[in-house]
Symmetry: C2
Subunit: 203 residues, 2 copies
């Protein structure tokens, strides 16, 4: 039909569709088995391709990982803007909403939990990504935490730098326990009680 009129655009769209499928499959296997444990053959088959077919779009497993991480960063960035997880006002409830959202996407939580730990190794292809992610993430939160402290939403007797590290630690740590025992650990409830601790003492 339109093939004769716009053949190149159709090609480009097919490529994009293939790439999207591959990223989706790779996300699934990197989450379930980690980077090392995931096999290119499994990812390829799940994306309805052979291995060389996959490697035509992503020249190596390493490249594929970087694209998966970049893609997640992009999507999460949009989500944070859209859902207002980084609101200056009502900082704690925006963090709470983030945890609630995470509790609905265990696959993605497992992707980050698994890869973040695997990437502690300096030689790991994801090492710089995660080190910078934590570094920048804390820096951004420190800003917001200072505002929340000034507005009286959060207690001021603990440095904002430490609070930022605590927030990341609490989320990461609860995610591990939740992934092991989703029925036993109510991540949302525990985090909610954690935010209680951060509010100023009544006096």
């Amino acid at each position: 039909m339109t093939d004769a009129q716009t053949p190149r655009r159709t090609q480009a769209e097919r490529t994009r569709a293939s790439k999207a499928k591959i990223i989706q499959a790779a996300t699934q296997f990197f989450a379930q088995q980690g980077y090392r444990g995931a096999k290119m053959s499994d990812i390829a088959r799940t994306a309805n391709l052979t291995e060389p077919g996959l490697l035509h779009h992503f020249p190596s497993k390493n490249h594929l990982l970087m694209e998966v991480l970049a893609e997640r960063d992009r999507i999460d960035g949009e989500l944070i803007d859209f859902k207002g997880y980084s609101e200056k006002n009502d900082f704690l409830s925006s963090q709470q909403k983030l945890v609630e959202h995470n509790s609905t996407v265990p696959g993605l939580v497992q992707l980050f939990t698994t890869l973040a730990a695997e990437s502690i190794q300096k030689e790991h292809p994801g090492h710089n990504f995660f080190r910078e992610r934590y570094h920048k993430g804390r820096a951004d939160e420190i800003e917001m935490l200072r505002h929340a402290q000034e507005s009286g939403e959060i207690r001021s007797d603990i440095p904002a730098e430490d609070l930022a590290a605590m927030l990341y630690a609490m989320m990461d740590g609860l995610q591990i326990q939740w992934l092991y025992e989703p029925e036993t650990i109510d991540m949302v409830k525990v985090f909610s009680n954690f935010t209680k601790l951060l509010k100023p003492e009544k006096d």
Copy 2:
């Protein structure tokens, strides 16, 4: 010298020494590269053995992992008893001392951080070990937390079950950030500020 008199005992001691060397090397490589990333050949070479030499003592990589984990549990159990990390009185300062100790053994912290995340996968040989470790660990802490709440050391407006999950989460989460940036993250200081949050409000 004594070989003629006690040949069998000498043999047994040699075996024990070999096994200890292997466990030590395996601990190092499992920590640095995870279970999947660690190579039997590297472990064997570090223990001054060939691969079949190693496999004479531990019939498979899987067995070796289980022994490494069991050995760490044994040693840590002794350490906890000896250093009183599970004191009923002064619960928070015993937890603080545990964090201080951990900050002196980054290799062992990396072993547990890396393997705990890798073992989230149900098929991983370490899965049951870590699931039970968290489960039992929290159960034990809940007991102590209840006592600490009764004695007034810890605030009582949050369920002990949630506090137990929080303590594990905070330690695990801080360890990740600390392993990425040991110079930037002062795990001991941040955890100390976290324990502040757990103390009752002054009224």
